[in-house]
Every structure is written in structure tokens, then in C-alpha cells.
């Protein structure tokens, strides 16, 4: 599976707001931890090493 980079989530504005809301009131450390959990959960959901590698690469660019 190749990494999806075209728009794929219609309600992106809503998700963005919910992402920020999830972090509300957290310390930096807690926010880091939450992000780490999110990455892990989403990586498992994607379930495709090739796509995840492409995502890592894009994120590091």
C-alpha cells in the first residue's frame, strides 16, 4: 500500500479541533505521551509497514 497523501478525511477541520481538544489542559510531557499513544494506535490501524515507512520519511522531510 502506498501512503495516501491526497485529501482523505472529509471532516479534517473537525478532527483538527478534536485533536487540539484532546491535548487541552495537558502538560508538555502529557501531550508528548498522548501523541506517542496516538502514533502507536494509528500505526497499528494502518497495518502496513511500507506505508508507515513512507509516512516516517514524509514527516522527517
Amino acid at each position: 500500500m502506498t501512503l495516501v497523501t491526497h485529501p482523505n478525511l472529509d471532516e479534517h477541520d473537525a478532527f483538527y479541533a478534536e485533536l487540539l481538544a484532546a491535548h487541552r489542559g495537558l502538560s508538555d510531557e502529557e501531550s508528548h505521551a498522548l501523541n506517542a499513544r496516538l502514533v502507536l494506535i494509528l500505526a497499528n490501524h494502518v497495518g502496513d509497514l511500507e506505508a508507515l515507512r513512507a509516512a516516517l520519511e514524509l514527516a522527517r522531510k
Binding site: H32, A33, A36, R37, L40, I41, N44
Partner: protein
Amino acid sequence: MAYEYKPYNFVAPAGLTAPEDKKKVVIVGAGPIGLAMAIELANHGQPSVVLDDNNVVSVGSRAICWSKRSLEIFDRLGIAERALDKGVTWQIGRTFHRDKEVFSFDLQPDEGHKMPAFINLQQYYVEQFLIDRAQEIDLIDLRFQNKVVSLDQEPNGAILDIETPNGMYALEADYVLACDGARSPIRGMLGLEFEGEFFEERFLIADIEMEAEFPSERHFWFEPEFHAGQSALLHKQPDSIYRIDLQLGWDANPEHEMTPEVVIPRIEKVVGHSDFRLDWVSVYSFQCRRLQSFIHGRVIFVGDSAHIVSPFGARGGNGGLQDVDNLGWKLAAVLDGRADSRLLDSYDRERVYGADENIATSARSTKFMTPADGIERTFRDQVLNLADKAEFARSWVNSGRLSKPCTYPLDAPDNRRLPPSARPGTVAPDAPLAGDWLLSQLGRDMVLLALGRPAPDVGGCRVLSPGTNDAIRTRYLGAAEGAYYLIRPDQVVAARWVDAAVEEIKNAAASVWKGI
């Protein structure tokens, strides 16, 4: 009860009085790997001299966990029964984070295999059983208190200088197998360096004897209250002996940590009482390194002398036994003139590949257990945090991945309709076979396994054409109605076909002996 070390006798070698004939193979080191190597070569009809600087088995237990593949190899070496009788297994593993159990697993035995997934057995017992076996075999000349002090390579062999309690002598050999362990003096004599990763971390490893009721389980703690910020492991061995691993941190002073006044209170915290006897204690730092190449002229490195890993995953001794498995039949064929010495190059190629897999896997486990401060620790802790909430994260928790043989990358005939678990390069999966086992029937020959197909006459390999059963169908046939499997003497699948002409099989067999 504590293991009773019985020193083996020194017998003055003939070489002290007159030069000995050139030997085909001299094995340096009578650890598990050197001993297994000698027996494996004898199984293939080859004599060897085994030299060890010491006269007792491994002091302290070191390796405890022996994998299924090692047990299958032990079976061919003739010690599996003793190992299984003496060894113990645990089935329940519990993982704790802080003081909470995050999850547990139950290792159900896999049906239809002669050997269990692993056993726990102290290294000194394994060595004792191997020595007993080696001493029954005329082809093996086992010499204790024979210390190799120098080595000279020649075009067709090597000369060793050997120190004994009665003086020095020399031995000449066609091949020298360096099975002299992690600190390998032979590596030093050849000026070779280990390359790889060193972990700035120390672990206290202790064996304790306790009669107290304690479940036969594996316990692993991440950051337990009793050992703040570090990790700890508890494992059961025979004779009411338990293994405890405690992470100490890099700044720990090994001498100080090993004193009973420091060790005993720490262990009391792990087991919750003080009713135990300290059997053995040692402090280790771990490395994941290997030689760039395992063959240097007529010297071949096998086991810890060639590669070392951190012990999480038990890939040291088990990986070394896979070296033995890979080298034995190849060296025997070369010594017999049945194969060109180039066959040995495939030992180097395949076992370097195997070592790299073991190194990568062990390094990943070590990193998970001992994350650096900062983001590494964040990710590690969040995997643990998720483990009791989401099933997927449990499999991400890495407290060691038990040794499994690698799949060699062979460029060999294959048919993708057949099950991937028996593809070329993998060890042939075991299966029950009319009151016996497939792996026992394969033995140590090159075998053509004809399943649901006529058994052709292929020179140079034994043909086995058993009836099929459920296990054979699942592990070897899948949806295909029949198949041919060409299996190497180390029980690795060399090639396979749903159907094949005799010529194709013959060509594949010829490639095996050429090491391609």
C-alpha cells in the same frame, strides 16, 4: 541443590613426547558450541580433537533457555532426552508495569511437533550432557587443560601451540574451529576485531535456590516499585533454582553490586522473602557485535567467538547451535572430498545473515527494556500504558523475542502455491509420521521428500515418501495435491516443487553441494 562441579581428568597428550599426525579438525573450546560441533562432525563420520583450557563445565549457569530448534539439534546429537528430562518449561508469562500486571500470556504447546517451544536448563547441565556424549564417541579426542596460546596459518592448515600442566606441544590441523567464546583468544591471535553496538547498561544476573512455593511462571517487570525505574526478570530453572535479572544502570559499580550485602536485599524485594540461597551472581554489560567474516583462511569461527548478543531472547547459545547445524555437513563434505571448499563460503554467508537477524532482534529488545531518557522512554512507556487497554500493544511489549532459526535467502526453485512456512531457506517444520517424527526421519542426510508423488531415483539423496496426514498437508502441501521437497542435511528446505522432472531435482541437489 547446588550443582556439583566434577573436574575432568587431564590426560597427557601424545604430542608432549613426539609430534602427532596432522589432524583434520581441531576445535578450540569445549563450551556448548565446541562440544556440539565435535559430535555433529562425528555424526558425519569426521574425527576431531577438542581442546579446552579448563577442566570443568561452565561456572555459573549463563544460558538457561534452549529453543525448539536447539532441542531438535540436541536430538541428533543424542542428548535431547536427558535435556528434556531435566529441563523445565513455564507456560504462563506475566508482564508488570510499575506494580500493576499489564497482561499475561499462556504459551500453549504447538501440537504435532516432537519438541516443545523451549526448555529452561542451566548451561552446566547442557555441557555435562554433551561431554558425556562426546566421551562415548571414538572419533572425538577431548582434551581438558589444553590451552591454545598461539596460532600460525599455513596455506593448507594451521599450527597451534598448546600449553598443558605437563608442558607445551604443537598440533597441526587442516581446519581449526574457533569455538573459544566471546573473548576468543583466537580472534586476538588473528588480529580481528568485533564490530557492532555496545549497550551502556549493566545487569545483575543471579541464580537463587528457594524451596518456597512460587508459581512456575516467567515474570517481567518494567519499572517495578521494588527497583525504581529499571527492569527485572524472574525465570525458573531445574533444582529449585531461579534466575533473576536486574537492570542496574550504567553508573553502577559491578564489584559493589555483587557483594551479598547489596545483592540479597535487592533479591528479597523481588521474591518478597529472604528464604533463599544465593547460588551465583554476576554483573554484565551487553553487546551486539560480530566478526565481519566468520572464515579466515583455515580458521572458522563458530558461536560466541563469531557473534555475541545481549541475552534477551536467548539467541547466544541457540544461535551458536544453528552455526553448528549449518557448518557440520558442509565441512564434512569438504573433508571427504565430496564438495569443493567453496561450499564453506555458504556457511559464512548464511550464518552472517543469521547473526545479523539475531543481533537486530536482541538489540531491539535491549532498547525496549533500557530506553534512553527522552522520546525513547516516552514511546516505551506509552506502549506499556496501552498494553492493558488495547490488545495490539501487548505484542509490542518487548522483553525478549525467543530465538527462532532465520530463513536463509536462497535463490532456489519454489512454488508459491505451497505454504510459506516451509519455503526454501527455512528449517523443515516437524510433523508426526506413522508413530515417529518427520525430523527424526530426515536425520542428517540430504533427503528428497516426495509427497503424493512417485518417488524418483535421484542420485546422492535419500528419498522419503511418507503417507500424508493433516499436519503434513497443512505444513507442506496447502492446497496442492502433491509436492517434492529437497531438504539439506541441516534440515533446511533447499528447493520445492508442486511437480518436477528428475533433472530439475538433480540440478537443485547439485547446487546444494556447491553452496549456491
